[in-house]
């Protein structure tokens, strides 16, 4: 046993060591959020690229068909006549994203859909609606790609009416209500992509550079009437339109402050997906705002603190107001 303990030996005291560790800890603590911010910025960029892709797909669709697809396609005898002349026969058809599949390199998926004879949830069509299309997703979303309406993303757990692939993009219906006579699917949207009717770019009197085409949306957790816990949100096959009436990251959205512990219809009604629709709006998991693409194909990041009137002006296609938000 050698006695090498020597008070004159150069070395570190415990205090010095602890101080060094503390300083390194602080430096790492300062660095980590910065790294996370850069990663989030990269995800946001990828998301905005996909918005641009989707807007180019819509522009190509408009060139080929001389009009845009309807934002969604739903008719019901429940609509009051004041909502405009809609078919009296029930038809639950396809949304804008389903119509532009051939323009986002999804020809095989598009050809597996029977657009003419079946509702989107019937037979082979349901398999298509449960197919995740990356182009319509934003990678910042913690639930990105999880199936909606049933079983928190467990695939194909329920009947053919459940499990739909999500979309983080919703057409901008306008600034007015999504509901007409209490029924979702107001065919008189004052934006570009709304229920039943098609618009053309020539209808956009406010200018393509001043009018929102598609905005970002997120999912919320809830409970399916018969299947238990589930995610609810927008799916690309249909229904993916929203109004600016709820703002950006509005009170009914996540992460806009939706209190998922409050379920006002527990016990009665129990139709959680309808509740999602009544409260939802545009939202994202990026900090402080959400991606939107204008009809001219330019992607903009809109703050969740934007004045409501400015947001509504951007949503209308022929409101006659002059927007200078992006000029």
């Amino acid at each position: 046993m050698q006695t090498t303990l020597n008070s004159n030996r150069p070395g570190f005291t415990l205090v010095e060591l602890l101080v060094v560790i503390a300083i390194i800890g602080i430096l790492v603590g300062m660095l980590l959020p910065a790294v996370q911010q850069v990663r989030e910025a990269a995800r946001r960029t990828q998301c905005s690229n996909r918005f641009r892709q989707a807007s180019i797909a819509l522009q190509n669709y408009e060139s080929a068909n001389k009009e845009l697809p309807p934002g969604m396609f739903f008719t019901s005898t429940a609509f009051p006549s004041s909502c405009g002349p809609v078919d009296t026969s029930f038809y639950n058809g396809w949304g804008w994203a389903a119509k532009v599949l051939p323009f986002v390199e999804q020809n095989n998926l598009a050809s597996s859909i029977n657009f003419r004879t079946d509702n989107y949830f019937n037979n082979a069509n349901w398999k298509a609606t449960a197919t995740v299309v990356e182009t319509f997703l934003c990678p910042s979303n913690p639930e990105a790609g999880a199936l909606l309406e049933c079983c928190s993303g467990k695939s194909n757990g329920g009947s053919a009416t459940q499990d739909r692939a999500p979309s983080n993009m919703a057409g901008v219906h306008g600034s007015n209500s999504l509901f007409c006579g209490g029924v979702r699917g107001n065919p008189e949207g004052n934006g570009i992509l709304f229920n039943y009717y098609s618009t053309r770019f020539s209808d956009i009197q406010d200018g393509q550079s001043n009018t929102l085409l598609i905005g970002e949306v997120t999912e919320v957790p809830g409970s399916h009437p018969s299947q238990g816990p589930a995610l609810f949100g927008n799916f690309w096959s249909n229904w993916a339109v929203q109004s600016t009436i709820e703002g950006v990251n509005g009170p009914g959205t996540m992460p806009g402050g939706r209190d998922i512990t409050i379920d006002p219809i527990d016990g009665v009604g129990e139709n959680r997906h309808n509740e999602y629709w009544r409260e939802a709006g545009f939202s994202s998991w990026h900090p402080g705002g959400a991606n939107f693409v204008l009809a001219d194909g330019s992607v903009h990041y809109i703050s969740e603190n934007i004045d409501q009137s400015a947001l509504d002006n951007l949503a209308t296609r022929d409101g006659g107001e002059s927007n200078n938000a992006f000029n």
């Binding site: 205090v15 010095e16 101080v19 503390a22 300083i23 602080i26 603590g29 300062m30 019901s76 005898t77 429940a78 026969s89 029930f90 509702n119 949830f121 019937n122 009947s159 053919a160 009416t161 459940q162 209500s177 509901f179 209490g182 029924v183 009437p225 018969s226 009436i245 709820e246 703002g247 950006v248 990251n249 509005g250 009170p251 009914g252 806009g256 402050g257 209190d259 409050i262 006002p264 219809i265 009665v268 009604g269 129990e270 139709n271 997906h273 309808n274 509740e275 009544r278 409260e279 969740e304 603190n305 934007i306 004045d307 409501q308 009137s309 947001l311």
Partner: protein
């Protein structure tokens, strides 16, 4: 002696870190809470929204109404100033309106909620409210009469 200097450095570092935390919203807001009833009956299930008007700056704010009460606290609450208020209340309907659906689909649509308040409280609202900055929490009660 060294450790005193070092701990001083620590305090400086921590205060620099904390200085980044602050409210950066471009508008002032107040937490608003209260009760909502229609014809004297508390609204069990609904939504309340505050839309800035008359030059008030800020986004839409609001929250759910449950058991006749609401509280708006996200994003700091309701922006200070004048607002038009929209209130919706929902009740369950039967599946009759969708009777032409296939049965497995009708199950999903059953129990649709219908909004039952008159349009003068929501779509064409006449309700207004003023939110002040002086109070920490402001109480606003809405006793709606048709």
């Amino acid at each position: 002696m060294h450790s005193i200097r070092l701990s001083g450095l620590l305090v400086v570092c921590v205060s620099i870190l904390l200085s980044g935390c602050g409210d950066t919203r471009p508008f002032q807001a107040t937490i608003v809470h209260g009760s909502v009833s229609f014809q004297g009956t508390p609204i069990q299930n609904g939504e309340i929204r505050f839309y800035p008007k008359d030059g008030t700056k800020g986004p839409v704010s609001g929250g759910p109404i449950k058991d006749g009460r609401f509280e708006v606290k996200t994003k700091g609450g309701v922006p200070v100033g004048n607002h038009s208020v929209k209130i919706q209340a929902f009740q369950t309907t039967t599946a009759k309106q969708n009777e032409d659906l296939p049965p497995e689909v009708a199950a999903d649509f059953s129990g649709d909620l219908q909004q039952f308040l008159p349009q003068k409280f929501n779509t064409n609202t006449e309700l207004t409210a003023e939110v002040f900055s002086s109070e920490k929490r402001q109480q606003l009660d809405f006793d709606l009469q048709d």
